[in-house]
Subunit: 254 residues, 4 copies
């Protein structure tokens, strides 16, 4: 097992970014591959708003990377929600192009669609599913763990002054998504994108009692056969994806 | 000597932030202070846009913290320019209130104005001098190393499509400062603030040949007797503040 | 919540060391404590041999520090087993004196015996219980999670060429403990120390099926009323102390 | 530019180790290399005793990796001096075999002798030159910056109770090298190895006034035409290899 922290420059973001990666240990790397052409499946992991990629150190992903033989890469997204921000950097472009290019040249990660997966927690679940819906040629499978998925509703609730549990002000959400009227049916509307999604498959897992549990159920219903939906007992995940991450990764490699 | 990396939650920023700190070693800490009431002078360090607080590991600040007996704390600012962003978090508020509160409760840093200093490099020099001008009750001394200080001109040049060396798009600068027309004379206009500044003192250092060398000279002229201006030979700083940081810290403690 | 990584110099170890700490968030710190004299209970956490302090990022300790209002500090021990090594640094001395002194001067940690706890996993459990037995004036409570506690047997098995699961060679164990004949009844013999221990109380938790499960049961029996022993179902801890760390911390603060 | 921190498992060391790496930025990586077979020259960097690989963040190595297009990798050595310790791990074996294997499979580093360099500071200079002398098929060039090279003398002075500036006790040095009588002419005696070295070339740089300046001069004399010796004015290196690292890397790529 290896845990790696990267600090590198991004042209798209106009500055340095941090990403954390989890790799299988030496005994899982193919040391007899003298030409070193072996490439590993890669899972792109997106944290929820208000957290950072450090969040994934609490989950079982490092052990799973070892067991299943893949590389997981989690970039810091700050308050971007993984979106090409209206007033801010083009983080979706960064995630779907530059980040993949950077790591393909640094780490032995696969370029193949069949070996590229994307997943996230909370609003990172939204970002992961959205990337998969919009870029089906890049990611074959996507998952969301306790996803916060319905951004239209989050924007409306935030504007109405409700306590949403997502640490974003109405202004901050406007910097990300533009004015509320611009969202529905636009390039960041996951539910609208999901209706048209055809090629990828999805795994949505949420705990009972989680505020946004219905987001996952509703989106899974919309995705139909392309989606698996798993509802966990309240507290089952020990606040660190102990059950859901294991379930999602098992699903990726089944 | 000690180098410390913090990952903590900010209410003002609505999420986690990273800061790096440099502390004197045990032999410089007053171990006979049985009640541990000793507080150390603190230097708040602001990096330039496009970099992160990692930038300061290249400078001699760790050794200087040891030699002079102070604590330096450098938060990551991302693309905020240290400003209460028009479309984004209130980073000036974070820097001048919350960050100080957090660290005063974690580390043995002084609350006294006479022992609170703020400095920065590039656009971090702008942010540092601006904080000192606007909050003279918090910081007694401020410095700028190869500062990029004239934001009005930077905004204009960026809008005109010039290559500025600062990795910000016109839109990104608008997210920070609002529309160009809003800047002059406003709460982020350092040159305007400097005219009225009365209580703090300033140290501005820039290398000959640096694109923004004139920014420092012009601002120092405006500040008059309150400012010291030092012009270094091109390359003297070894791209890592070898001369300017030593000069600035010596000035802080003279 | 805050996660902090320290790199500092140790005189006892003759060089730099790394430690990771977990602090309550700002809302748990007493911000009205204007003189900042509030000191928090402190839990010293010792990792198992072959791992590093990164191990604790997988456990629920950060959330527990937040919930119960304490500070946890986990130093890297490398292959020292937390012992004053026969051929190597005096790590027990470092743990029980210098480390406490360094952090008492940097972080707001309590000096009081009643608010100083020590715990560990695997061989770190051995080190934690041993420190508590030998230094009852420093630590009031100690715990071991899936502890590897019987060093005499580990040395014997390693010498006999058995696969122990502890990545130490016979020579490496000799560098730590000296020759096999020197161990029994000596300063590092936890079972011998435990017989005489009178002042501290202990919590030992182990999973059924864990190779060293009997170590915990046997030591708890020896400690008698001073020890609580908890046996978990196999796999209950999700390989990351999900149940045992919560149980131990609850026990500390009950 | 990229700065990367690795935490990985070593079979040889029997546990986790930390290494820091510096990579060229994306614009220096060959993105048109669709098969990703491009491999970069690699510089293995060894820190001095008492420090860690963090030491190299202060040096200009990150910028040099960018400018010259190589990857630098600096493992933490703790108190091993880079030696197969008498009482402790086989760190020379780790450095010359396992570490190279691990990184060849993770990062795009060259396996070719002509593109493998090793260098160090202080006692890391000793370790680097020794590895190059003993393993000429692995490293084509080696350098030492303010090297502490004459271990026989260091052992003798430490045994005699002199203050050497190297934070090792006599016992610790015995754990590394064995008894004093075992050293001369043995597998770790750099001066003895240097007499027989034939294939590699060396660069030794030391500041005037540095306590061990004569070590470099004497070894360079012994190596004869295979070595370049550069003596810097006292203080020229700004305590962070500002001149010597630039000189050494220029020499590597000339």
């Amino acid at each position: 097992m290896a845990y790696v922290e990267f600090n590198a420059l991004s042209t798209v973001l106009g500055g340095s970014f941090t990403a954390r990666a989890f790799l299988p240990g030496l005994d899982r790397l193919d040391l007899k591959d003298a030409r070193h052409q072996k490439r590993y499946p890669v899972l792109w992991l997106l944290h929820t708003d208000g957290e950072s990629s450090l969040e994934f150190l609490k989950t079982p992903v490092e052990g799973l990377a070892e067991r299943y033989g893949f590389i997981a890469i989690a970039p810091d997204l700050h308050h971007s929600m993984g979106v090409d921000m209206k007033w801010g950097p083009n983080v979706e472009k960064f995630l779907t192009h530059e980040l993949r290019g950077i790591f393909r040249h640094i780490l032995p990660v696969s370029e193949l669609r069949e070996e590229n997966f994307i997943g996230g927690t909370g609003t990172g679940g939204y970002a992961a599913l959205k990337c998969a819906c919009k870029h089906p040629s890049l990611f074959s499978k996507a998952f969301s763990l306790n996803g916060i998925l319905d951004m239209e509703r989050l924007i409306a609730r935030t504007s109405a002054g409700e306590v949403t549990g997502v640490p974003q002000t109405a202004e901050a959400l406007e910097a990300v998504f533009g004015g509320a009227g611009e969202f529905a049916g636009g390039p960041d509307d996951l539910f609208s994108l999901a209706e048209r999604s055809q090629e990828s498959v999805f795994y949505l897992c949420a705990e009972k009692g989680f505020d946004y549990h219905e987001d996952s159920r509703a989106l899974a219903a919309l995705l139909g056969e392309k989606a698996a939906f798993v509802s966990l007992d309240a507290g089952a995940d020990c606040e660190s994806c102990q059950v859901s991450m294991r379930g999602a990764v098992k699903w990726l490699f089944q």
